[in-house]
Amino acid sequence: MKTQQIQISDLGELAPALATLADPAAAQLALVFGSRQLLGEPGLFREIKAACPKAILLGCSTAGEITRRGLAEDTAVVTFAQFDQVELTVATTDLASMEDSLAAGQRLGTQLQASGPRALILFGQGLAINGSALIDGLHQVLGDGITITGGLAGDGDHFQETLVMTPDGPSTTAIVALGLSGAALRFNHGSFGGWEPFGNLRKMTKAVGNVLYELDGKPALDIYKAYLGDYAKDLPSSGLFFPFEMLDANRGTTGIIRTILSVDEAEGSLTLAGDVNPAGYLQLMHASTDQLISGAEAAATAAQAMAPHPGEGLGILVSCVGRRLVMGYRVDEEIEAVGDILGEDTVLTGFYSYGELSPSAPGAPCLLQNQTMTIIWIAEAP
């Protein structure tokens, strides 16, 4: 496996950067993460496609791009990979609406079924999508044995419009999935938050889909505002400080964290970045920067623990936009921590997202995660 990476902050930098690549036409995969502005430039897709016509081009817009150098904003990072034995397939579908999520997952699964992929890397738009339903649709077609990872596209801290890069160019509605197969494929993953629960468990007394109306019989927004205090005026972005952990009806932990995406003052409701189980409980969580960095380390350690890594690899980091807002200037430290663990011979790429897709643990079904550092680490056996 061979990997090369370029990063540009202006479309004009693209051609010179491509020129520095060794044999770009041999690349089979081109992963693109960038700001919505850059990713939306038609020239970006066209020039990359021209440089490596055989490569599968995919990616998405971000709330910050990740390389081994750390966080970057308003850039585009393109990573090229060439495999010896791993086989790649790609599937794309348009998401008509949020309610189409389950069907979209089924459609993607149907396209990928023939190639029998072992793992999927999936990118979808990050605003009007039901990630949980999408994953359900994929598992329904491909079975529970397949490992699904990926992330939802971001839009800085604007939460307005996201793009997904498909083999046919950028799209605001598309979902793209890369299937990986082959005995030589090494596909490790890890996902961890680093958040700590505090306060009482709160019973969801009214919740529909991803909208939470009441906790313990009181308007959810009131409770939330009490904790935010002065920072309540910064909602919804200040909601990232206190995500919820979801617990099941028996108060058992599920490992899933839900971020607040928006609030409705009139209804007193919170809109969460993913469905909640209305029969379950929620617990407020918080974290310090150090704890979040430790969480990222834990995710990397988990990914590393799945299998020893032979040689050169590619690490795709999908971290939550909430973590970035909490850590501020120190967000680079979690990227450094992951890079240290995965090692110098692993090329890092990735982005701050509006939702991470990953199993909570190896073998577990994929879930839509919030507030985690999610690591997809692929390599090829010699």
Binding site: F198, G199, N200, A226, Y227, L228, G229, D230, Y231, F241, F242, L284, H286, S288, T289, M327, G328, Y329, R330
Partner: protein, 803 residues
């Protein structure tokens, strides 16, 4: 700029750098570049501004984190406190609930079966409580299981009951709340017609209101009512049920509903009715037969009486030898026929269960001896000896039936005489055992006759059987004698058996259970004393001849002619009695019924009244009562009952009505002669004196010892007094008026004492002391003696000082 950073910079830097560090950093960068400072210093100058920006960012971020965490901590603390309070409240409520559970568990422990085996302190800890409750629940479940099993049993039993019985349940008012299928089927109603209806729905109106009053009274009192009820079906037909109504009580023991269990007994009722009808018919037939026999008894005996009596009269006339022989044969044949008739009638009575065994006092030795007197004559006539052998320890006075004893003894002896050609008949009486006042007498009649073969010995006690069919032809007889004896002995709590050697003779044994009475009537025993014991009976002479009817003997006229009122409706008896009495020298006036007697009585001074019992218009009892009522004080005319059944109730009724004696019917000529002689003259010939051989000697001796003047003075008043008291004594005993009997006996005692009659005084004393225990025989004995005294004092005939 962040206040902390600004303060730190002001402390380290002077103005103007302290006032605007970014501007100062920018100036430093430009200065180092313009003065071509070493590269690393130029790099420092370029990075310093960015460094300060990041430091400020970190400060701000830390402030924010701290603020949020402090706030979180405060809110969490408040929430925790609130939660703590809530938990404490919950805990208290829970502890209260646990305490309640403990007390509940405790209660359950003592109410559930088998639950008390748990430890007493089992509920003290929560774990223990849980264990205890688990245990109790198990017990409860087991209990429930038992209850379910019981319920199943009950359901099965109910099912079984429903298969068998007609079942209904009503409330307290009789409104039907449950009816099983059988109920609906038999009553002919659909269930919905029955449920909610009153039980009166099926009443048949057969039973009187009192019947249901009793039913309701019983079940309302919580008791079970049983009975047979006639109910009515919807279609109007009736049916009978055997019903059991059980009140079902509530927890307080009060009836809350009634369950009625019935079985259909309509068929049984029908059968019972038919049976009842059949029984009525049978009873009517049996009654008709009894009536027929009774009538026949009367109807046959009366003409037999006529034949025998008239033959007797004819034999008393002058006859040529042939005529006498013919008439003797007629009379013997009639006698034999009468015996047969009596046998048949006795047997019929026994078979019909109508024969009553008396329990009256009698002298045992006297009774046996008397019976043997007549037998002795018959034995002598056949040339046989009759040996009497009475044990010395036989009780004197006993209670039992002397007539039946005599009958059995006579029968056995007659058989012995019949089947013995030569030798002797030996009668033995021995005491077979005695316990308190009960004794068992063993009598044996042995003969030296033909004997009975062993194989026939059992048969002879059966009815209509003799040892050999040819026996009847050879010896005559009905074959009923021994059967009657067997039954009579059985009725007297004894048994009868025989042992016999053919050709040598037979011994017939029988036993009797008798009650021993204290000795009494010493005056009567005295003359008999030397007669008791062992010895041959007088084998010849007047006594023997007088005792048997088989020997011709002319009965002499009585010494004195009496005025006799004969009350008799039957023409033959009228003629017989009138002829005999007139022949013996008496003046007889006839009354054809009781009313005529009552009318005739005051018209003359009668010496004796012979009173028949059953007569048209007025019977003997009523007539006697009226006569006695009309008699002037001090006067007492002897009234003699003529009755076919001179025993038991009849005699009591006679005596109670004021009669003095009785004469058995059919009339026995010698008995009549003797009786009249008794009332006619105290000095009658001994042969015809009445059976109780009171003898005149002690009385005459006593009277002779009296002062003649005093005797003369007392004579009339004593006679009147004695007769009056005697009649009053009979009346009092008959009416069970013991107080009067006591008083009368007292009077008698005084009167007899005045006459110096010591023995009779003792008898009167006994009666006075215990009037209620007075046997009739005691009164009879006393009355007999009193009559002798009265006769002796008679002005015309009696022993007077003038004599």
């Amino acid at each position: 700029m962040h206040p902390l950073l600004a303060r730190q910079l002001r402390r380290l830097l002077d103005a103007p750098a302290a006032d605007n560090p970014p501007a100062a950093c920018d100036q430093l960068r430009l200065f180092l570049e313009s003065h071509q400072a070493p590269a690393h210093l130029q790099h420092l100058g370029r990075g310093l501004g960015e460094f300060l920006t990041r430091v400020e960012g970190a400060y701000t971020q830390l402030d924010r984190d701290l603020s949020l965490r402090t706030r979180s901590l405060k809110l969490s603390s408040e929430e925790l406190l609130a939660t703590n309070d809530a938990l404490r409240g919950t805990l208290e409520a829970r502890e209260a609930a646990i305490a309640q559970l403990q007390s509940l568990a405790e209660r359950l422990r003592h109410t559930l079966p088998d639950a008390t085996e748990t430890q007493d302190d089992a509920a003290d800890s929560l774990t223990g409580l849980v264990a205890l409750i688990s245990h109790l629940i198990e017990r409860q479940e087991a209990h429930q299981a038992e209850l379910r099993a019981l319920h199943t049993d009950l359901a099965n039993q109910k099912f079984a009951l429903d298969q068998h019985a007609i079942v209904s349940i009503t409330d307290l008012d009789g409104t039907i709340t449950y009816a099983n299928d059988r109920f609906c089927d038999i009553a002919g109603y659909r269930r919905e017609e029955i449920l909610g209806a009153n039980h009166r729905l099926i009443r048949s109106n057969y039973h009187p209101p009192a019947f249901f009053a009793d039913l309701w009274g019983t079940i309302k009192a919580g008791k079970v009512w049983r009975g047979e009820v006639k109910n009515r079906k919807k279609n109007g037909d009736d049916y009978w049920v055997s019903a059991t109504i059980v009140p079902l009580t509530d927890a307080n023991g009060q009836p809350s509903q009634y369950i009625a269990l019935r079985t259909d007994i309509t068929e049984r009722k029908q059968a019972e009715r038919e049976l009842e009808q059949a029984k009525s018919l049978a009873e009517a037939a049996s009654q008709a037969k009894s009536d027929f026999l009774a009538n026949m008894s009367h109807e046959i005996r009366t003409p037999m009486n006529g034949i025998i009596g008239m033959t007797e009269l004819a034999l008393d006339t002058d006859l040529d030898p042939i005529q006498r022989d013919y008439l003797t044969t007629v009379r013997n044949s009639a006698d034999a026929l009468l015996v047969i008739l009596n046998d048949i009638l006795d047997f019929s009575k026994i078979e019909a269960g109508k024969l009553q065994i008396e329990r009256i006092p009698f002298n045992l030795a006297d009774t046996i001896t008397e019976a043997l007197k007549s037998i002795g004559a018959r034995a002598e006539k056949k040339g046989l000896k009759l040996v009497r052998n009475l044990a010395a320890d036989l009780p004197l006075q006993v209670e039992g039936d002397p007539g039946r004893l005599r009958q059995v003894l006579t029968n056995l002896c007659d058989n012995a005489i019949k089947f013995t050609r030569e030798g002797a008949i030996t009668v033995t009486a021995a005491l077979d055992g005695r316990e308190a006042d009960q004794c068992r007498i063993h009598l044996t009649v042995s003969d030296t006759g033909i004997g009975i073969p062993p194989e026939k010995q059992r048969q002879v006690f059966e009815a209509f059987t003799q040892a050999d069919a040819s026996t009847i032809r050879k010896f005559g007889g009905t074959g009923l004698g021994l059967a009657i004896c067997t039954r009579l002995v059985g009725l007297m709590d004894g048994r009868i058996w025989l042992d016999s050697t053919p050709g040598q003779g037979s011994s017939f044994h029988f036993t009797l259970a008798l009650k021993v009475l204290p000795n009494a009537a010493a005056s009567r025993d005295a003359p008999q004393g030397q007669d008791r014991g062992t010895g041959a009976l007088p084998a010849s002479g007047e006594e023997a001849r007088a005792a048997t009817g088989s020997d011709r003997q002319v009965l002499e006229p009585h010494g004195r002619g009496l005025a006799i009122l004969l009350v008799e409706d039957h023409p033959v008896n009228q003629q017989l009695a009138i002829r005999l009495l007139q022949k013996w020298g008496h003046a007889v006036t006839l009354a054809r019924n009781g009313q005529e007697a009552v009318d005739l009585f005051p018209t003359a001074a009668w010496d004796i009244v012979f009173m028949d019992m059953q007569m048209p218009v007025m019977g003997g009892i009523d007539a006697t009562r009226l006569i006695r009522q009309g008699e002037p004080p001090g006067q007492h005319t002897p009234i003699i009952a003529m009755t076919a059944n001179a025993r038991g109730e009849d005699r009591d009724r006679c005596l109670a009505a004021g009669m003095d004696d009785h004469l058995p019917k059919p009339l026995d000529i010698r008995t009549l002669h003797r009786l009249v002689a008794h009332y006619c003259h105290p000095a009658a010939p001994p042969a015809s004196s009445p059976a109780p051989p009171a003898g005149g000697d002690p009385i005459q001796a006593a009277l002779a010892a009296m002062d003649p003047d005093m005797l003369l003075a007392l004579r009339d008043v004593v006679r009147t007094q004695l007769l009056g008291d005697m009649a009053a004594a009979y009346a009092a005993r008959g009416g069970e008026d013991w107080e009067t009997l006591h008083r009368v006996a007292h009077n008698l005692k005084n009167t007899l004492g005045l006459l110096g009659m010591g023995d009779l005084v003792e008898i009167a004393k006994q009666i006075e002391a215990a009037p209620a225990d007075t046997p009739t025989e005691r009164l009879d004995g006393l009355a007999h003696s009193v009559h002798l005294i009265v006769a002796a004092l008679h002005p015309a005939t009696g022993a007077t000082p003038a004599n």
